[in-house]
Assembly symmetry: C2
Homo-oligomer: 203 residues x 2
């Protein structure tokens, strides 16, 4: 199978569920239903990799330590770029190396998506200019200040307008399922949701 | 504040959302509402640690690599023991070192809870004998074979009968919120759910 590569950006103070929710959804999606298909990658349409500036362990919110699979220098071509959020996004708004990596990865990706305050980084790059977009409810006003051309949506969990953004934290799970559904159909997305016992919501 | 320590068992092939869901809920709970209270631990009633046999990195389902905070030898006293699931639970059913650690940690803990197939390990230790309990829908029959005195519940996301068990994967988030509610009340649990934008379900 020709798998798509999902690349999740990692950084210190990334919110745990922001990256772990999409990680779970994409890594457990199978084109064949049931439990047995999850024992191997034979029917897996995605492979998921974590990417950070360096290979040094990341300290996520709460202190969870994750070893990235790739540094910016070693990252593979990414088909689906996921930018999670968390308080760690704030210093990255002034970090040219991270911003430029996101821009380059997004330029070559088939889809770019954010979770929670990950959208602030996409906004900073101008990727949300004149688009509808969302973020965590606590950052909706801030998002508008980063780029006042953004049409900020305050009542949707997932907003797809070229770039895909989602509301806070757990809404990243809905965002991931919306991508699975777009690429592989509703049956595959719903069956994977059933496998991980996640109640999908209307987008 | 006198914080409770939440200890999450980690092992190879643990399901990502099984540990990351409860990790997120407990680590982001605050006794003061809003976004600002999440910037520090001042109002945090829990601290969350990951514990594995050794300090070697764990490879979770999909390949996510996590560095445990503690080995069995260095783990602190745990107030709330969380046993996640995943295909990695199967070899642990015959692993005396892991089983004995779970037994000892559970003996001294205020609460013991499992996510998904983590309940198989509790069942193997006899901790679910004559109790109502649940697991991932794909393992309900297997759970009964591990200890046929268990009253297996097939239609609840969280089952609290002395030991707390939950259904598959994402149901661990509901389990964690049920513990937050038990210890700190519904308002704190619901406000934290709102913070992480998770739609809580009736237990």
């Amino acid at each position: 199978m020709n798998r798509r590569t999902v690349g999740i950006l990692m950084f210190d103070d990334v919110e745990v569920l922001d990256f772990a929710g999409p990680y779970e959804v994409f890594s457990r999606t199978r084109l064949a239903p049931g439990v047995e298909s999850r024992r191997t990658d034979d029917a897996a349409p995605f492979r998921v990799v974590t990417v950070a500036r360096t290979l040094a362990p990341i300290r996520a919110t709460g202190g969870l330590r994750v070893i990235p699979d790739h540094s910016f220098a070693s990252a593979p071509i990414i088909d689906i770029l996921i930018v999670p959020g968390g308080f760690g996004t704030r210093p990255l708004l002034d970090d040219p190396a991270v911003l430029e990596w996101i821009r380059a990865a997004s330029d070559s990706a088939e889809l770019t998506a954010s979770v929670c305050t990950g959208s602030l980084l996409l906004a900073k790059l101008g990727l949300l200019a004149n688009r509808r977009a969302t973020t965590h409810w606590g950052a909706l006003a801030f998002l508008a200040t980063v780029d006042n051309s953004i049409r900020v949506e305050s009542d949707q969990r997932v907003v797809a307008d070229g770039v895909i953004t989602s509301a806070g934290v757990a809404a990243g799970i809905d965002m991931a399922f919306s991508i699975v559904e777009r690429l592989h159909g509703r049956a595959v997305a719903d069956e994977t949701a059933r496998y991980i016992e996640y109640p999908r919501h209307a987008d």
